[in-house]
């Protein structure tokens, strides 16, 4: 009960934040929420099930292009395209999983990295369709979701918040369910779960597909809400970012990805206002943070004071 109250409270706080924040920060919040959905997807596979992937940019891009291509080339309305983006992310995750889940540990990391690299190069190569590195800008009429205009800050925030809320509650329900415990079993002791008659490959594949749907929805939403899709979102940097968000906020915590995404965003935003050498400050901040909270912020909080935190 305590847990559900906490998460509803977080959502209410976000609503309140949108109302009081000046436009720049309110719009940043929309971006952070979408990125947090991506990070939550990453957290499901990495934080809970221990699958360290370096290829999630591929899943984000699958959603981004799955939706963007349908809207741009086929004239599909935005809402079905958003759903298609989620499915594209899930399907891509399934495909990658079928192959990559034959490996584990660092090999899994590298195989996912290489598949993502294949995806990235393909987007650049087929730029007649994808727009390549230059990308494609979507127009206003292409960005209407159920009559809400995604070129306006307020409706955009509501869509971002609704997506985030759905993702948050689904994820919370997921980790509290029997399947959630299976996920932890994959991380903690795969061998034992096998001896108990479970099928680790099947479970991990399911986890990865769920993670892919989250990532795909986030990618599709990023394209539709902010009006741009481009090859750079498929680059390795966008595989590292969700990992960074998750590790900062706390791997295996439900709210960690949101905290990590917000923190990283404002770390860059704030320090770039202080000095042109802001990357050094960001780097130093990461080092300091990890020294004092090696399990991420919420992970460390849970370890020390709040053992009930999901």
């Amino acid at each position: 009960m305590k847990i559900w109250i906490l998460h509803i409270a977080v959502l209410l706080a976000l609503v309140l934040a949108q109302l009081v924040l000046p436009p720049y920060h309110a719009n940043n919040l929309s971006r952070i929420l979408v990125l947090a959905v991506f990070a939550m997807g990453y957290n499901i596979s990495f934080g809970y099930a221990g699958l360290l992937s370096l290829g999630h940019a591929l899943l984000f891009a699958a959603g981004m292009y799955g939706a963007g291509m349908l809207v741009h080339h086929a004239g599909m309305p935005a809402l079905p395209a958003l759903i298609a983006g989620g499915l594209a992310g899930g399907a891509m995750a399934g495909l990658v999983g079928l192959l990559a889940l034959r490996t584990a540990g660092v090999s899994f990391m590298i195989v996912t990295l290489m598949f993502a690299q294949v995806g990235f190069l393909s987007i650049l190569y087929f730029n007649g369709v994808t727009g390549g590195d230059e990308g494609i800008a979507l127009t206003g009429p292409q960005r209407q979701i159920l009559g809400l205009d995604m070129t306006q800050d307020t409706p955009r925030f509501w869509v971002a918040l609704i997506l985030f809320a759905i993702a948050l509650l689904v994820k919370l329900a997921l980790v509290q369910s029997r399947f959630g415990r299976l996920m932890l079993a994959m991380r903690e002791n795969e061998e034992r779960s096998r001896m108990l008659g479970l099928n680790p490959f099947g479970i991990k594949l399911k986890i990865l597909v769920i993670s892919g749907v989250f990532s795909g929805v986030a990618g599709a939403a990023y394209a539709l809400l902010f009006g741009y899709l481009g090859g750079s979102f498929a680059s390795v940097q966008y595989s590292i970012l969700p990992m960074l968000y998750v590790l900062l906020g706390g791997a295996g915590t439900v709210l960690g990805p949101l905290l990590g995404a917000g923190l990283m965003f404002y770390l860059v935003d704030f320090t770039s206002g202080l000095t042109s050498a802001y990357l050094m400050v960001v780097g130093a901040a990461l080092v300091v943070l990890v020294l004092f909270a090696p399990k991420g912020i919420l992970g460390t909080l849970r370890e020390r004071w709040l053992p009930w935190l999901p």
């Binding site: 720049y24 727009g131 127009t139 206003g140 902010f226 741009y228 090859g231 935003d269």
Partner: protein, 429 residues
């Protein structure tokens, strides 16, 4: 008063809200421009590639824009108001680019945003500029504006686009270097623009591209592609971008040696910010380059050339006054200068007083067509096409002689003209 200080300055939320309130007050109460001249300086936002792959350019764009702003302030500012440039780094990426547009408009309260070079940053940022309804003036030479891919708020008044540049070059190449051309280009959008436009342009001159050699984007060594250059090639057209360029030229030199090879024609994009005296580049002696703005001051340079160079801090070889090895991105950075003067011209012509006049400002810009040579436009006269939001100017072809780029030909504006692909004035704001 600008740059570093402006960079460090980050207003609190309250200051911004107060500032916006003040701006709103001024427009509603209809204060005269003269009254505002005594007020706070007008802020203009600059989207800067300070880090990331565009950092070489960003440094020079900033120096050029600072110099232009200083000159404008010395001339009395814009409409009597002093200006202040606010720089925000976009990391040369589209994601941060859009965020920076947001920050400059909403947080810093800038009147307009300009200065973006890399195409993917332009593409990623333009939608946000359109949403905020803030004029977004890019300095990118991409074909994205004139192709119609962007919106009513995005204009490119300070530099000719790549399609026009290539088209203007092709007749000279066909007439002076040869008609059988092999192209070497990076295998992504930037290279594909060159591939498509040049192939068509040379065909129109009765020439032919006999081989397209597309180099994968992640490649750092090019030797394995050089044997694919057909032996009967008369002209090797090369365009590369980024730090791999030096390697490419060096490997080309190793490949052909002193023996007879095809004539080389390249886009200076390859060697912007690179000293022609760099070891390994001896091989380029005698070869030709496109330059938008001659790096080495031509003997017959226009009267405003010296003032421009002095203001930016560039010597007659196109290098920094303080360090002759620090070579400018000379063929691109003038666009930051010219764009700022274009903003001044349009703001003064439209009687711009504040954000409420932004639409009027864009309409005024669309009405401008003749941009004559002057200190505002050291690169040369331009025609601005209000329908396609794109400026068209003259181009230069230079030859490397004794390790220096010497201008040998200048195109006319008519050489680079093509049919409009879009009419932005028919789009809504």
């Amino acid at each position: 008063m600008m740059t570093k200080e402006a960079n460090v300055f980050m207003p609190s939320r309250r200051a911004v809200l107060a500032g916006m309130g003040a701006a709103g007050l001024m427009t509603t109460t209809g204060l005269s421009r003269a009254a505002m001249a005594q007020g706070a300086p007008m802020k203009l936002g600059f989207q800067l590639h300070a880090t990331g792959i565009g950092a070489s350019y960003g440094r020079w764009y900033q120096r050029t824009a600072d110099a232009a702003a200083k000159m404008i302030n010395d001339m009395g500012g814009i409409g009597g108001r002093p200006i202040e440039l606010v720089y925000e780094d976009d990391g040369t990426g589209p994601k941060r680019g859009a965020e920076v547009v947001d920050k400059l408009a909403n947080q810093h309260g800038c009147e307009v945003i300009f200065g973006t070079l890399f195409s993917h940053v332009v593409m990623g940022s333009a939608p946000r500029a359109g949403e905020l309804k803030i004029p977004y003036l890019v300095c990118s030479e991409g074909y994205h504006v004139a192709s119609g891919a962007l919106n009513r708020w995005t204009l490119q008044p300070g530099i000719t686009d790549v399609r026009s540049q290539i088209q203007a070059m092709a007749p000279w190449v066909a007439a002076n270097l040869g008609k059988k051309v092999t192209m070497v280009f990076p295998d992504y959008a930037f290279g594909h623009d060159h591939r498509d436009f040049f192939t068509a342009a040379i065909a129109a001159q009765g020439g032919e591209v006999i081989a397209h050699i597309a180099v994968p984007p992640t490649e750092t060594s090019f030797t394995q592609y050089l044997p694919q250059i057909p032996a009967e090639t008369e002209v090797l057209y090369h365009v590369m971008v980024g730090p791999g360029v030096l390697t490419f030229v060096k490997e080309l030199g190793e490949f052909y040696g002193a023996g007879a090879g095809p004539k080389l024609f390249g886009f200076i994009d390859s060697l912007e910010a690179v000293d022609m005296a760099t070891p390994g580049l001896e091989f380029l002696e005698g070869s030709h380059f496109w330059e938008a703005h001659s790096r080495v001051k031509p003997a017959d340079a226009g009267e405003h050339e010296a003032a421009y160079r002095a203001a930016v801090g560039v010597d007659d070889n196109g290098a920094s006054l303080s360090d002759p090895a620090d070579v400018a991105t000379f063929s691109h950075m003038f666009s930051a200068w010219e764009t700022l003067f274009f903003i001044k011209q349009a703001m003064e012509a439209s009687g711009y007083a504040g954000p409420a006049d932004r639409q009027k400002l864009v309409e005024t810009m669309e009405g401008i067509s003749d941009l004559p040579y002057g200190v505002e436009r050291p690169q040369g006269a331009k025609m601005f096409n209000g329908k396609t939001h794109q400026a068209f100017g003259t181009q230069n072809i230079s030859q490397v002689q004794g390790g220096k780029l010497v201008r040998v030909h200048q195109t006319t504006m008519a050489d680079g003209a093509y049919d409009d692909a879009v009419d932005y004035t028919a789009m809504s704001f």
